[in-house]
Amino acid sequence: MTGRERIAQAFAGHGRSAALMPYLMSGFPSHEASIEAVKAAVDAGADLIELGVPFSDPLADGPVIQAAGTAALEAGATPMRALDVCRSVGEQLPVVLMVYANVVAAAGPELYAQRAAAAGAAGLIVPDLPHDEAAPVREACDAEGLALAPLVAPTSTSGRVEEVGADARGFVYAVSLTGTTGERAELPPGLAQTVAGVRAATELPVAVGFGISRPEQARAVSELADGVIVGSRVVRAAEEGGAEAVRDLVSELASALA
């Protein structure tokens, strides 16, 4: 089965109100600890995993994920070792790598896609590769059966959402808010409208991320979308309480989506 097919299956067969996709930073707080944290998230009921590949200049990330990436790099993490973290759970559920464009460009899109597929990844999210620049990476992913899942933002015009939707693979990542990743007290008021706009532009599942941290927020998003992505809160749990805290948090989020 290709990565794209595995993603489709994960969105179709989760039996919840929406698929749960926790984000974890590979190599944070250490290589071994990140493998433990990812395994804990899988055990606790994650349907897919979004796995961060640490990068020196993560423009789309807020303070928590930015600091986690910096700490991972200082602890010796590299994009190649991130693939080992992917490999540790890649057979159990679809892993989508969140990787910045220069890491893909440095290897070359074809070689990067081959390596990711060999490590059991199901797809890529490249947050600084907007639709206009994405074709070479999308073609390289297609050749390996990987999904290049595109992002749309609340600022995206309807014409642009249509273009993005037409070329999407796997799922569409709807960015909930105008800003970087990080926990927020409230869900943004225009979220239903953003999701409805994306849904009109694609047959693929729509997953929502950025600013979702609490179970009740996850539940509210699951009423609008097919997938819920929780990032900074999970990374914070990995930092503060290790794999056990990740297990507890993901269980709680999974129950909220029951």
Partner: protein, 388 residues
């Protein structure tokens, strides 16, 4: 001026930014295409540049430097502009554009503080809110400029990530812009970043070369043999070179910072050494490791201490229209002192690299035009502490 605003220079440039910013970049591209063709906008900017900032700047025949080098050396005196460097030309143009676009808030990044001061100055003049991102290490090294920005009414936002210098300040400014894009214009300080910034900054700074080309023809009756400028992100260099690109007989030299030497990693010379990479929204020459992590740059000059370069420079390098060379810290410091002794001018450490390169090439006997992009008062403490 009816041509499109370029998004690419050969393979370089592009818009490698979060999707959230794409509509703002589209808007900026449209607004700039309209503004630069609008006689009223041009008239307002020209008046500010002449009456407020001090354009045109003189082209000065430097007699004692000429004697030392064994050539006729002409200095384009951008150091005489208001706020002390070429940066104010870009800041005034972009802040005027921000007002035209109806933005109430301006953000900027700064390394040495020159672009931050220029942006704060333009915002004071045009009455816009201004936030300047600056690494805490640079804030420590450039305390006077921090105080200047505050006096001008700007908020200086400290950036405490990474090496706490220019690269992190740019990243922090881009993150702010992602979150506040509806109300905010990001005034980028060099010919870097996602399209349309490299073209926008070049369009605003090309007045340097346009003036210099007319001045050298007036003064000497011919074009120079060589045109020399320092390159960090590369705004004064692209601003100088653009007017001469079609003059095939004029050799163009971009001088990067070799820091402690090109053989190690302690330098800021991506054009002279660097692989192709993506930094701050553009594909260009970038200092990076083999897996794509951006490396910290090093230069004694804060304004050149940046691991990337403008995408048009990467293109001009590949086309072999511009030759990029690099000068080490020690040679730049020596040129700083020598220029003071010979001409009574304290150059900024950035153009001191260009002067150092010229001093290393004596006896050409030709006509050399060099852009003195800023004055060196800001560098005095750094130079004195390194000389101890």
């Amino acid at each position: 001026m009816s041509a499109a605003v370029e998004r690419r220079f050969g393979p370089y440039g592009g818009r490698y930014v979060p999707e959230t910013l794409i509509p703002a970049l589209d808007e900026l591209e449209r607004e700039w295409a309209a503004a630069r063709a609008d006689p009223q906008f041009k008239a307002e900017l020209d008046t500010l540049l002449s009456d407020y900032a001090g354009r045109p700047t003189p082209l000065y025949r430097a007699p004692r430097l000429s004697e030392e080098v064994g050539a006729t050396v002409l200095l384009k005196r951008e150091d005489l502009l208001h706020t002390g460097a070429h940066k104010v030309t870009n800041a005034l143009g972009q802040v005027l554009l921000a007002r035209r676009m109806g933005k109430s808030r301006v953000i900027a990044e700064t390394g040495a503080g020159q672009h931050g001061v220029a942006s704060a100055t333009a915002c004071a003049l045009l009455d816009l809110e201004c936030v300047v991102y600056m690494g805490t290490e640079d804030m420590r090294r450039q305390r006077t400029n921090v105080e200047r920005m505050k006096l001008l009414g700007a908020e200086v936002a400290p950036v405490d990530a990474g090496a706490r210098t220019l690269k992190e300040a740019v990243s922090a400014a881009i993150r702010d812009w992602v979150a506040n894009v509806a109300t905010t214009h990001y005034v980028i300080g060099s010919a870097v970043g996602p399209a349309p910034y490299p073209a926008l900054v070049r369009d605003l700074q090309r007045v340097i070369g346009d003036e210099a080309r007319a001045q050298v023809l007036e003064l000497c009756g011919r074009l120079p043999d060589r045109v020399i400028a320092c390159v960090g992100g590369g705004s004064n260099a692209i601003g100088t070179f653009t007017a001469f690109l079609d003059d095939e007989q004029v050799e163009l030299i971009g001088v990067e910072a070799a820091g402690e030497g090109l053989q190690g990693r302690r330098h800021s010379a991506p054009l002279a050494t660097g692989a192709r990479g993506i930094l701050h929204g553009a594909l260009s020459a970038v200092l990076q490791d083999e897996q794509g992590q951006i490396l910290e740059a090093h230069s004694v000059s804060a304004g050149l201490d940046y691991p990337g370069s403008g995408p048009e420079h990467a293109f001009l390098r590949d086309e072999e229209r511009v030759r990029y060379v690099a000068v080490e810290d020690a040679a730049a410091l020596a040129a700083f002192r020598r220029t003071a002794e010979l001409e009574g001018i304290l150059p900024a450490l950035e153009p001191a690299h260009a002067i150092a390169w010229l001093l290393s090439q004596p006896g050409s006997g030709g006509l050399e035009l060099l852009t003195l992009s800023g004055r060196g008062d800001k560098d005095l403490a750094e130079v004195l502490s390194l000389s101890e």
